[in-house]
Structure formats: structure tokens, C-alpha cells
């Protein structure tokens, strides 16, 4: 499977370095290594979800309980989570670190992913969620750290888009 183990490890180690101790996730192809890393890590609580919106509530609970968390999801999972993001995380000022696999961008071969990819960034802007891209391994660590810093200083959701150039080896 050409999902990059090396770059998944970079992302995972950066999350750990930010103090993330709970990850909620719903599997998709690009996330498989990250989810396995969380599963194999005794210091990490991994919560496997039925639907991504649950992760917003779980992260909100973890945050109020004092534990930093992150959500791993596909952009279609982000679409499925929007009510929770608005009416839980934004309404209650919850710092929410969302790592969203940016399917449907240039290079996408799966026809069913192409609509979601075309609306993800506009929806993040409309929701006024600050976001950046994880596309260059050299920048992964500090972008994740900066995203987490902003999430905590603003008490708001932030998003990082996991891009094909980082996650997929062709």
C-alpha cells in the first residue's frame, strides 16, 4: 500500500510532541498507519468512531477534562461533522485539532472522492476555521505545533489538511 509510513510517523510524532494523548478516528486509506501507530502506543487513547461527528464530542469532553486530543478523518468525515463543530466546538469555544485527509485534490483517481475535495477548503473558510496544509515533510512538525498553539490560544477549532504529496507514495 503506497500510503507513506515515514510521513505518517512524522505526523504522529508531531502530535505526540504537542501533548496529544487521545485520538479519535474513523479509518480511511490515508490514515491507516496513523491509526495503527495510535493503537500500538500505550500512551495514547484511541477511540474508533462509528461516525466522525462523535469525535467532536469526545474531544470536547477530553479537553474539558484536561487532556489534549486530535481528530483524524477524511474530508467527507469533516462534512459529516459540521453541526458538531459549529454547535459544540465553536459554540463552547473548544480547541479542536482536526487532521483531515484532503481527498479529491489533484491526482485523485477515485471518482467518488472528487466532489468532497472540491468543497473542503471553501467550507473551512465559511466556518472561519483557520487551516493549513501538510504537504511537505520538512514543515509537518512545526505546522502541527503552530496549529495546536492557535487552537489553544483562541479556544477554537483548527484544521490541517493531509495532502496527497505527503501521504501517498506513487
Amino acid at each position: 500500500m503506497p500510503v507513506s509510513t515515514t510521513h505518517s510517523r512524522l505526523v504522529y510524532d508531531a502530535l505526540k510532541a504537542c501533548g496529544i494523548r487521545l485520538i479519535s478516528a474513523l479509518p480511511e486509506t490515508w490514515l491507516v498507519h496513523l491509526i495503527r501507530m495510535a493503537e500500538d502506543d500505550p500512551e495514547m487513547t484511541l477511540v474508533r468512531l462509528a461516525k466522525e461527528e462523535e469525535g467532536v464530542g469526545i474531544s470536547a469532553g477530553a479537553h474539558l477534562a484536561g487532556v489534549p486530543s486530535a481528530m483524524l478523518m477524511q474530508n467527507h468525515g469533516f462534512l459529516a461533522s459540521i453541526n458538531g463543530i459549529v454547535s459544540c466546538a465553536q459554540l463552547y469555544r473548544i480547541p479542536l485539532l482536526m487532521l483531515i485527509s484532503h481527498r479529491g485534490e489533484f491526482g485523485e483517481r477515485d471518482p467518488w472522492q472528487t466532489e468532497g475535495g472540491a468543497v473542503t477548503e471553501d467550507l473551512l473558510r465559511t466556518l472561519r476555521i483557520p487551516f493549513s496544509y501538510l504537504d511537505d515533510p520538512a514543515r509537518v512538525s512545526h505546522r502541527i505545533r503552530k496549529a495546536q498553539t492557535l487552537a489553544y490560544s483562541s479556544n477554537k477549532p483548527v484544521a490541517l489538511l493531509l495532502c496527497r504529496d505527503l501521504m501517498w507514495e506513487e
Binding site: 469532553g61 477530553a62 459554540l91
Partner: protein
């Protein structure tokens, strides 16, 4: 059974536990009995109160958590029951007040009014202990049993579709949120048992 009578019957058990409620009548009625800093009212995001409770229960095993949910909210996140059951925290009691309606928006009937059985759904999802209760004494007894058993429980309390005349209280949402977070930060391990 009236929900407020059920709440009164277990109020002393809630005083020292971490409590997450849904919006609407549950939040307003619990506040009318007496707000405490360890009570959080999720005033929107229907379905996610049980997910918040799960997030707290998993990250703070030293605390006992009670979620006060409702039929309309649970029906919006039935998958969440499978996630609760999957991790089955022993420090979480999930109460569902089932009035078979969406009371706060005019009382439209939910699917529990036509036979959908939330305790049965929870049991089938894998929640180890479930019960449906129809009177205040049975409710208090079921909650006590669930607390004593120290395993994940979903207790469905069938209640009348009546509630307070209004739902907005003088407790601001963010005031509640930061007070609750501060409570969880400063309470000594074990003190919220």
C-alpha cells in the same frame, strides 16, 4: 413519571459526580433544582452529550460520570451507542429520559412513540447493563444499581412529555463551560466519586 421528579430523586447522587446533560427541559429542570460547578449542559449539538461523557470518562478514570440524555438526542447518534459499548468505561452511567417526543420544538413524536426500544438498541449495541424504568422508585433503584455495579449502563426512564415553560436560564453557556473545566482541573483525584 415526571422527569423533574426523577431528577430530584437522584439529585444527591449527582452532587459529587461529573454530570453532562442535553439541552432543553433536562438542562432547565436540573438547573431549577440547583446548579453545581460539576454540571455541564450541552445546549445544542444534539446527540453529542454521550460522546462528551465518553471523552471525560476515558480521560479521567478517577471520576464518575453521569450523562443525562434524551430520546431525540440518542436517536440522532445511535452509532454513538456502539462507540460507548466498544470502550464501555466502568465510570459512566448513561441515563436516557424518553418522553417519546421532541418536546422543546412542539412535542412532535419520536420513533420511540412507535415502538423503537432504546434500551434494547443499547443492549444490542453491546452496552453491558441496560434497563427501562417507568416510576421514580424504579429509576432511583436502577441508577443506584448502575453506580454500584461499576460497569457501563444505559438506563431508559420513560417520562411524561411535560417540561418547564422556558429553556433559557441565567447561566450563560460559556460561564458554564469554563466553570466546569475549572472544576475538573482543580478537583482532587477521587473527590468527584
Amino acid at each position: 413519571m415526571k422527569r423533574i421528579d426523577a431528577l430530584r430523586a437522584i439529585y444527591d447522587r449527582l452532587e459529587n459526580r461529573v454530570v453532562v446533560t442535553i439541552m432543553g427541559a433536562v438542562a432547565a429542570e436540573l438547573q431549577s433544582i440547583g446548579h453545581r460547578p460539576n454540571f455541564f449542559y450541552l445546549q445544542h449539538a444534539m446527540g453529542l452529550a454521550s460522546s462528551m461523557g465518553l471523552g471525560i470518562a476515558l480521560t479521567r478514570p478517577d471520576k464518575d460520570v453521569v450523562v443525562l440524555d434524551g430520546d431525540g438526542s440518542v436517536l440522532m447518534n445511535l452509532g454513538g451507542l456502539t462507540t460507548l459499548a466498544r470502550y464501555r468505561p466502568t465510570n459512566l452511567v448513561h441515563v436516557v429520559f424518553d418522553n417519546e417526543s421532541l418536546l422543546s420544538v412542539g412535542g412532535f413524536p419520536t420513533a420511540t412513540s412507535t415502538g423503537s426500544d432504546l434500551a434494547g438498541i443499547a443492549a444490542a449495541a453491546g452496552v453491558p447493563h441496560t434497563a427501562t424504568v417507568r416510576d421514580v422508585e424504579g429509576f432511583a433503584r436502577a441508577v443506584d444499581q448502575a453506580i454500584a455495579a461499576r460497569e457501563l449502563a444505559t438506563i431508559v426512564a420513560k417520562v411524561d412529555a411535560v417540561g418547564p415553560s422556558g429553556y433559557v436560564t441565567d447561566l450563560a453557556l460559556l460561564e458554564n463551560r469554563f466553570q466546569f473545566q475549572r472544576f475538573l482541573k482543580h478537583v482532587d483525584a477521587g473527590a468527584a466519586r
